[in-house]
Symmetry: C2
Subunit: 310 residues, 2 copies
């Protein structure tokens, strides 16, 4: 099944205690699509870049076998640029600058080949733009959506309207608490699912992720990494991996969703091992299978035939 | 196999957004012992209380079938008293007062019946006192130790000396980072295990716990609770459950340790559902078995026979 991704394609300037990159290939759509294509194709990208966007980066995206028909190049405009800095513990990031540039007048156009069915990933963007994409797609199999504190605070009505039309919301724990106005994540999950999405994934960074589906709660661990180079894009890679896995299976049931969370977590773990999206380039099927098995071992609770009753 | 617990027996005054208690039964030894006895007996407690310690609390401890021979009552002294306040998100706690009282001249005496073998739990205390207990026990099967930032900062040498003599260190993530001087938990775990303990458990509160043993890393989820009344004692209940489970099995291997972490996590989850140690009173074997099974479901990653290779 195809995957349609809308989001940003950006030029990222990132500093971490382990290095720095300037105007590297980045953006939510980049990470989502690069992760999704490992498990389901075709993957179509809807985004906008400026005339300054390096041809080599377009080549990188094409080499990942992504369908770029939906990527508009505005020759007179400048590409969305983001600058961020991570400190020693890598948990908090500081945004140094955000230049929206061509993103300010982004009018997404979904290519004809992606206008029916498929899995739709609405990467973090103005909820109005996310809705515009949704309006161009008939009978999607599953609609996933990401958002952030900025939209929760500044466009609450547009976000609420969008939430009624999506199937899966993927947010981090702080965003879930803010959206629900509730610090307890289990209660927050109930509040958010009452807003529309029947499936909720709460990402917790180094602490893993929680899936809420029907009466099921699934807690996935994060892969314990000694060397995290750059956390940028981990959440987007998670979404791409999750979406791609569901698209590949072509069904939405408990086991598929649990595995999709793990596949997304694996993609996130590969992402943070390198700067920018480099960790998502050239992964072998064997490396992915090994990482997935490592997640199963990491989380394995052996059954106790005696159960433990005193 | 018996379990020996040294720690505090305290009078706790606790405020949370959901209620308050004044001079309730508390202390690390109380929670550790109350959790451990569900799975292994006898459980002996070594602690000190003052003349103000209510007879009813001694009765509560006795009713839990704990061996109190090692609990000294100093009629002229006052019991260790702690006051704490939790805010709305329950993650951070504020200490309102700490009156050491009889704890200032605590000379632990291990009862004869607990001086050989068994599982030894060194609850959070001055590392010097923890060492005094250890000196009174011959050939313990396993020695577990808890500590906190205060001892890491103020008695680093005594703590380092103690770490060389224990098998299992159980600390929270902030304490692990501080002890190792390293923000990455995987690296921190290596540094700490080089200090002595061959087994390390890092508690992460609402995010579960990590076990490091040989080359194994096990990530246990926290039980998702909608109603957390009072987080006090959760970490101690974890240690007690963990210790009791190992004592019951009488062996230390990977599967036993994984299950011990889950048993400890289950005890912590019961603890936080009520104020003080009330959540650890009168649990049925069936309720415990149900909770353990819920942990397995929560963490279950279904095997994908196809593995996911594009």
């Amino acid at each position: 099944m195809h995957v349609l991704v809308v989001g940003t394609v950006a030029l990222d300037s990132i500093e971490t205690p382990f290095g720095a990159v300037d105007r590297a290939l980045g953006g939510s759509a980049t990470y989502i699509a690069m992760a999704a294509r490992y498990v389901s194709r075709p993957v179509g990208v809807v985004a906008v870049v400026g005339g300054d966007f390096p041809a080599a980066y377009l080549e990188t995206l094409r080499a990942c076998d992504l369908d770029l028909e939906g990527v508009t190049v505005e020759p007179a405009g400048k590409t969305f640029a983001w600058g961020g800095r991570y400190h020693y513990d890598l948990n908090d990031r500081e945004t140094c600058f955000t230049h929206l540039n061509v993103l300010e007048r982004f009018e997404p156009v979904v290519p004809v080949a992606f206008r029916e069915g498929g899995v739709v990933c609405l990467g973090n963007l103005d909820p109005g733009i996310q809705a515009q994409v949704l309006e161009q797609v008939r009978s999607p199999a599953l609609v996933l959506c990401d958002t952030m504190n900025f939209w929760i605070e500044h466009t609450p009505e547009a976000l609420r309207a969008l939430l009624r039309r999506i199937d899966v919301l993927i947010v981090n724990d702080a965003e879930a608490r803010e959206l629900a106005g509730e610090p307890n994540l289990v209660k927050a999950a109930r509040v958010i699912r009452d807003m529309g999405p029947r499936i909720l994934v709460i990402k917790k960074g180094e602490h893993g992720a929680l899936l809420f589906y029907d009466e099921v709660v699934f807690s996935a661990p994060a892969y314990p990494l000694e060397d995290i180079q750059d956390p940028t894009g981990a959440g987007d890679a998670f979404m791409g991996g999750f979406a791609g896995y569901v698209a590949r299976c072509g069904r939405v049931d408990e086991d598929t969703l649990r595995r999709a969370v793990v596949f997304g977590s694996a993609m996130a773990s590969f992402t943070v091992e390198r700067f920018g999206p480099a960790g998502l380039l050239g992964l072998s099927g064997e490396a992915i299978a090994r990482r997935l098995e490592a997640f199963r071992t990491l989380a394995h609770i052996p059954f106790d035939p005696a159960q433990v009753v005193p």
